[in-house]
Symmetry: C2
Subunit: 169 residues, 2 copies
C-alpha cells in the first residue's frame, strides 16, 4: 500500500484520483511560466539581454505580447526594472532578473538538459551552460537533503501538509 492509499484507508475514496489538484505547485508555477514566450524571455535575460528592443529583435515576438509578458514578470517579482541611459538619449527601462527569477534556473536548466540530450542537432547544442570560473559543464540534478545524488526512479511523491480532497459535488 502506498502513501496515497494509506491516507484514506477504508473510506472508499481515492486520494490519488479524487484529490484537489488546484493547490499543486507544478500547476501554479506553470500558470506563470507556462505561457508562450515567458520562458524564452527569461532565457534571453539569462543569456544577457535586458532591453525591450533586445527581446523583440532576438525573439521576433509581437510587441504587445512582449509588453504583456514583461509586465507580468515584473508584477510577479521575477524581473525588476532598472533604468539605463545611452549617451545622447533619455533614460529608459531595462529588465533584470531577481532572486525569485534566479530560483527558476534549476527548472530551466532541466528543460535545457533534456533538449540537449534528446532533441539537439547532430553537432550538439546551440548553447552550453558552464560553471563560471571553474568552466566545467553544469547540469540539473536531483539531490536529497542528505546530499546523495538521487535517480529519478528513487523519488517518491507523498501527500503533503496542504493535501486536500476535491470538494464534493
Amino acid at each position: 500500500m502506498d502513501a496515497w492509499t494509506e491516507v484514506l484507508e477504508g473510506t472508499g475514496m481515492n486520494a490519488r484520483l479524487d484529490r484537489d489538484t488546484s493547490n499543486c505547485s507544478i500547476a501554479r508555477t506553470l500558470e506563470i511560466v507556462g505561457e508562450k514566450w515567458t520562458i524564452l524571455i527569461l532565457r534571453e535575460v539569462w543569456y544577457g539581454s535586458s532591453r525591450f528592443s533586445d527581446f523583440e529583435r532576438v525573439l521576433g515576438c509581437p510587441r504587445n505580447l512582449l509588453a504583456t509578458r514583461l509586465r507580468m514578470l515584473v508584477e510577479e517579482g521575477i524581473l525588476a526594472t532598472e533604468t539605463y541611459k545611452e549617451p545622447g538619449s533619455r533614460s529608459r527601462p531595462k529588465y533584470v532578473i531577481t532572486r525569485k527569477g534566479m530560483d527558476l534556473v534549476p527548472a530551466v536548466m532541466g528543460l535545457l538538459q533534456w533538449g540537449d540530450r534528446y532533441r539537439a542537432d547532430p553537432e550538439g547544442p546551440a548553447v552550453l551552460a558552464r560553471h563560471r570560473g571553474c568552466g566545467a559543464p553544469v547540469d540539473a540534478q536531483i539531490r536529497c537533503e542528505r546530499g546523495h545524488p538521487v535517480q529519478a526512479e528513487d523519488v517518491e511523491s507523498v501527500p503533503g501538509p496542504a493535501f486536500r480532497m476535491k470538494p464534493a459535488e
Copy 2:
C-alpha cells in the same frame, strides 16, 4: 567582453541578438512539454496514475485533448503503452513512463520546488517529494561536472557547437 561578444568580434553583428534561436534546446523541449496538460499528465503518471480514465478523473481534462496528448507522448517515447486487464473486462491500454520520460523529472522537480517556495498554501505544499528508502526530502539542484553544488548566479551560458547566426534576410 563576454563569450557572445567574442564570437563575432569586429563583424558588427551581435551574436546574442542576431543568433538563430530555432535550435534552442529549451524551446525544443517546450514544443513537447509546453502545451497545456502535458506536464500535468506526466505529474499524474509520476504520482502513480496510468489509465485514460484516471487522467480524465483527476485532471478534468477534455477527452480529445487527453487522447491527443497521450498519443503525442507515446510517439515521442516519453510514455509507452502496456495492457492491463480487470477481471471480467477486456484488455485495455495503460500508460507507463520510459527512461526518456524519467529524464524530465529534474525539470519538473525544478518547477515543483519553485512553486513550493513561492506559491504554496500557508500550511505548505500539497505533495512532497522524497528519497525512497532514505525518506529525506529531495530537490532540484545545479551541479557542475566536478561535483560542486553551483548557485544559479554562477552559471554562465556560452555559444555551443551548433551555434548559428540568423539567416540574413
